[in-house]
Subunit: 503 residues, 3 copies
């Protein structure tokens, strides 16, 4: 505290004179203060969090829900929000603890990154919602959207895990959230594309953005003939990582359905459960088939088992039938395991794209598959299958003013406003367009961001510092370790795991 | 991938020519494909997951709910479903990580087994619900029922933990789910027995089925004078196991009440919380009283603390009063700890039934106690205590056509159809009958299944392979370990736990 | 079992003749039996858990909700209750596993303490609710209140972690719950003070009570020149502790809002999320600024990141605006980290108050801050900002019978009964009074309790037994450890973390 405040008093806060670590910490403090100020300027309580609430439903373009439908309790999304919240902080956090000496950083930096980026995401999302009072309304929906948005930079972090300073991750995350918000806004509001579980806008975007950053990071270094000695798991760290895997697997149906309602929401739950169950089983099977001595590989079990959640994401609420959900999940499991086995080494050796957690196999390829599957189902969607929900799910298919619109409104007791009158094929094309736009935006902005992250302000790691918790954490001094070591000498001559029986 | 597809091309998939491990993996792939095909043939969206839903409530025999009651939102079971979901995959999975060298398999195989069996359970459950369109409807209820069903084979797995190949577990699980579904159908639909938390149909069935399989497994081997050297816990693995214990303990009220409604559901929550709290405290106390030097025993703390959740299961929604719930929980805690202390060694030495996790003490005996307690309460149930809920909880007590029925319908504003007109004593007898039938079915089918699991197709483990993760997992090569070992030599001379301070 | 029942038969249960450990276990058994008997005498099902429910809403003084408001489903608090349940048992339990050799006790004793104290808390709470039938009604609200109450003794346990027997904790907890209930009753029902998240009644009370007990414990011992050799973390134990931290962080919005309704509840969720996010980021930043070599300190990351949840607690449902929530969270993060850095060592050296987990920094000071912030907001609250909710949140501000009351009832369609007609300033003063009363009550009753805990009945630990799991747990015999050690000799010569690759 002394030093800290002395620095303030003597005006020695000049950020350029500091050590790299101190500069990062000061920058972190400044970023949080800026966020507080911006929130003060821009954000206030929304209709659902104010006492006088005469609530208006979140606006969907063209589609107006039947008036006689009872209004949903705005608190009812909270349990699903908490599921997503657990996925972001426990799920992503522990999933990345698999590295032998980077567990504290994996869980700790996910925590830090998530906490600052949730606030940034609320601001980004709010910009588009500023009302007549000059303020963006804050509701439970905002929190949910923020958590979903934060998944994108956390996915990107997976590609970079262990190779960056925490400030590089934070700067990357802030830039990424701005681009993410713009890209999603264009896709959802202008291209009128459906992406229930965010496979296109979150998973594909986050994965290819992160891979692009990693590519830029790799350009500076000579190609390595062998892996970093700390880039591997340990027996314990693999079990910690399973905490992350299982919670992600369990709550993925909430992730894909939290923003939906009624039967569409329940269908998304069912479809996601089936898809992710199939990808789990298939990942185990293919892992054993392609691995040495036909055993399971922990990397596949921790990651590819989740591919089905990504692969069904775009189409989670669509009428793909249970068998369709199982099939797409199974395919994604095959792709993901084979990606780990063959594509990741190739990308590293040939393209010099290093991908610590293999996000290309868990998020990248399954998300592209999800986009294609969503386009396919959009192209097959008929009113016979979907009933009135065709226009709820695909509002762009609402006819323009005329005979058709009147008939639909009459037969389903709806009050639809005239829409873009897309055919199924047009909707499918727009789905593919949004996927393509997202991939291009992610890669280009990722490359630029990679260059920005080389700025000295963010710091950087040497080869020796990589994958090592000692970069981020103040750990016991050597003397103290030695003292304990001597005190416990006889324990230490045995395995630490069985050393407790001496008393 | 190369080998994998070459095998396909050259027609070398003949399953008999493969190594045991490859055969298992191929069989796993085939099982998943069969499940996908069967789902395609048999399952479609249900009324709650289709857009045109004119929902009908899940049929209860005889009891028709008051018409003026507002229909429940079918999504409202989702939070409880997720609690159960966490119990199955995190709870059971981590509970079984207590073994020193089997943690990855415990959590990994629970994951695999759960993911494939959830799909199988949906199919088994669906068979009884096939409608006019030749398809079984899939809803959130189906997912909940599937998770509950999967608990039975996971309990059986507890008795066999570390002694089987994963394919033996999967084959066992599929057979067990078929028998489970039949037994439960008979008990619930024909014997009209109440078993809110599934203590009879899930816990007793799963435990005695697993013990019967374990008995058959034990017949082949000579009795051992001492325990397997890997069959014990380590300091870390005991803490991992507590993750499972606590999540099971926390969410058990959801398990026992998820399928209920209204005050019955809330009563089941309250009763389960009280019962499992008492069993926790009593387990600690008795553990200290019967253990060496009066310390706590981790085995008891990890398992017996949960016995109260099982023991209240059958009667969770009945009017046992808070003191009744506490008492039954306390009794189950005593029984469970004493079972671990005295019965498990006796069963192993005399009956040659080996029970790795002690499922007889956590699930078997407490479930029998639950069945008896349920019969007792059913025998004591009067309209004075239960009000109209007597006929909601025990539909078999609805009078047959006549004066009585009319009076009841009038006084409670119900529209009950004529029922079997059982007395309290008759209902109690049926409860006992269902318990007896379940025990017989579980033991007989478990013995047969044990014989089936000896088929070479499922593989088997040698004595040396037991309780050892290296059977299932591809772990770092010796060379790599050696390399890291040398690089980190000075750390390794100290306890691994304090080795991080050198940097 | 033999010894146990022989003791009963031979009348050798005389508690004074037993070894200290056996006496504790017997006492635990007796306590649980007493709780069962008391529950039998005092508690029955409430209106929500009985079949005949003609439900009455939980009484709030003076404020009667608008009659046309639809009645809330009493089961709707269950998901939030489960979040709180996870916080108490997983959150607090794992948070305290950070000690190198005390992880099993941390999680195990939290489990034991929580399970017995939940039952005691239900009794304490029930005493004030005994109805005409001479019984206290038990509902889901009771379970929620009990979990919240149990947080207080678990916070006190944090100050004492590793320095007491389990019986000392249980006796302390029972005494503490009695005082807690009285203090909260006076504050809420007589002083009519608002404390949404229990920062005053739970956090401040629990922290200062525990510190007072710790002070008494420290009086007997000579001041130590150096820390206990086991009083520190290990690499693995720090990761286990993060499980607790993250779950607490995630579910804190539920803790602060579970007892609220409607927009007030949603506002409490949003405010808590913002406050705890800001305290997380600021804790990381300040931790790096004040730590050696500007790295993060795990103690700060595990604890101070949560300070924002405490600091917003009292005012969680008030109109502090998003920027207010962020600001109070940020301030609490600064205070908490600086507390760990400077105040904790000073308190230990000068005041001889030892605080194992630093509860003063996580719960004590942030709770005082919360009380002050709550008073500030109460002093600023106007009908212009709060609308009708002014009288829902601050019922003491309802005017006494007269013109004003009639106008308010007319304009908001309310049916308020005449109230104490406090001004904003008066309400603020009462808020401060309740904070002061709570601090005095906590410290005085904590000092007395500390003296009671020296009774031989509770046992006590020697200096060598502190922070050591071997006091509580029956761990493998030395022989067995040696055997395994020899069998695995070559593994043991390497780091235990990478020892699995030999098979």
């Amino acid at each position: 505290m002394g030093n800290f405040f002395n620095d303030f008093k003597s005006g020695n806060m000049g950020i350029t004179k500091m050590s790299g670590e101190k500069r990062q910490a000061t920058l972190l403090l400044i970023i949080q203060i800026c966020v507080i100020v911006l929130t003060g300027v821009l954000v206030t309580y929304g209709p659902d969090t104010r006492p006088d609430s005469s609530r208006s439903r979140s606006a969907m373009p063209y589609y107006v829900p039947p008036t006689e439908k009872p209004e949903t309790d705005p608190t009812s999304i909270y349990p699903m929000y908490q599921d997503v919240h657990v996925m972001i902080f426990i799920g992503f956090g522990f999933l990345m603890t698999f590295l032998r000496r980077y567990g504290q950083s994996a869980i700790g930096l996910t925590f830090l990154l998530g906490a600052i980026l949730v606030q940034v995401a609320i601001l980004c999302d709010g910009i588009f919602k500023i009302g007549d009072n000059g303020k963006a309304p804050l509701s439970l929906d905002s929190l949910l959207n923020a958590d979903v948005a934060v998944a994108a930079p956390l996915i990107s972090m997976g590609a970079l895990l262990g190779k960056t300073t925490y400030m590089q991750l934070i700067v990357m995350g802030i830039i990424e959230l701005v681009i993410y918000t713009l890209n999603k806004y264009i896709g959802e509001q202008h291209l009128l594309v459906v992406d229930d579980g965010g496979s296109i806008f979150v998973h594909a975007f986050g994965a290819y953005f992160g891979l692009a950053v990693s590519f830029v990071f790799g350009l500076r270094n000579k190609p390595k003939s062998q892996a970093h000695e700390l880039e591997g798991s340990s027996y314990q760290s693999d079990i910690f990582a399973m905490i992350g895997t299982i919670f992600l697997w369990l709550f993925w149906p909430s992730f894909n359905s939290a923003t939906l309602h009624g039967d569409e929401q329940r269908r998304a739950i069912v479809n996601t459960l089936l898809s992710i169950a199939a990808s789990c089983v298939i990942s185990f099977a293919v892992s054993a088939l392609v691995s040495k001595r036909n055993k399971f590989d922990m990397v596949h079990v921790q990651n590819s088992t989740l591919a089905g959640g990504v692969a069904i994401g775009t189409a989670a609420g669509m009428m793909c039938q249970p068998v369709g959900a199982l099939t797409i999940g199974a395919i994604s499991g095959v792709i993901s395991v084979l990606g780990y086995k063959h594509l990741t080494p190739w990308m590293q050796n040939r393209l010099r794209i290093h991908d610590t957690c293999g996000v290309h196999n868990l998020h990248g390829m399954p998300a592209v598959l999800a986009g294609l599957f969503g386009a396919l189902l959009a192209g097959l969607a008929t009113e016979a299958d979907y009933n009135y929900a065709l226009y709820e799910i695909f509002p762009a298919r609402i006819p323009s003013l005329g005979q058709n619109l009147t008939e639909i409104n009459n037969s389903y007791q709806l009050s639809l406003r005239p829409g873009p009158n897309r055919t199924a094929g047009m909707q499918a094309s727009y789905q593919l367009l949004a996927l393509a736009v997202t991939l291009v935006v992610a890669i280009v902005s990722g490359l630029v961001t990679g260059l920005i992250l080389r700025l000295p302000l963010c710091g950087s790691l040497t080869e020796e510092q990589k994958f090592n918790d000692s970069v981020n954490w103040e750990i016991e001094s050597e003397d103290e370790v030695q003292k304990i070591s001597n005190a416990n000498k006889d324990e230490n001559s045995q395995s630490a795991e069985v050393a407790m029986g001496h008393i």
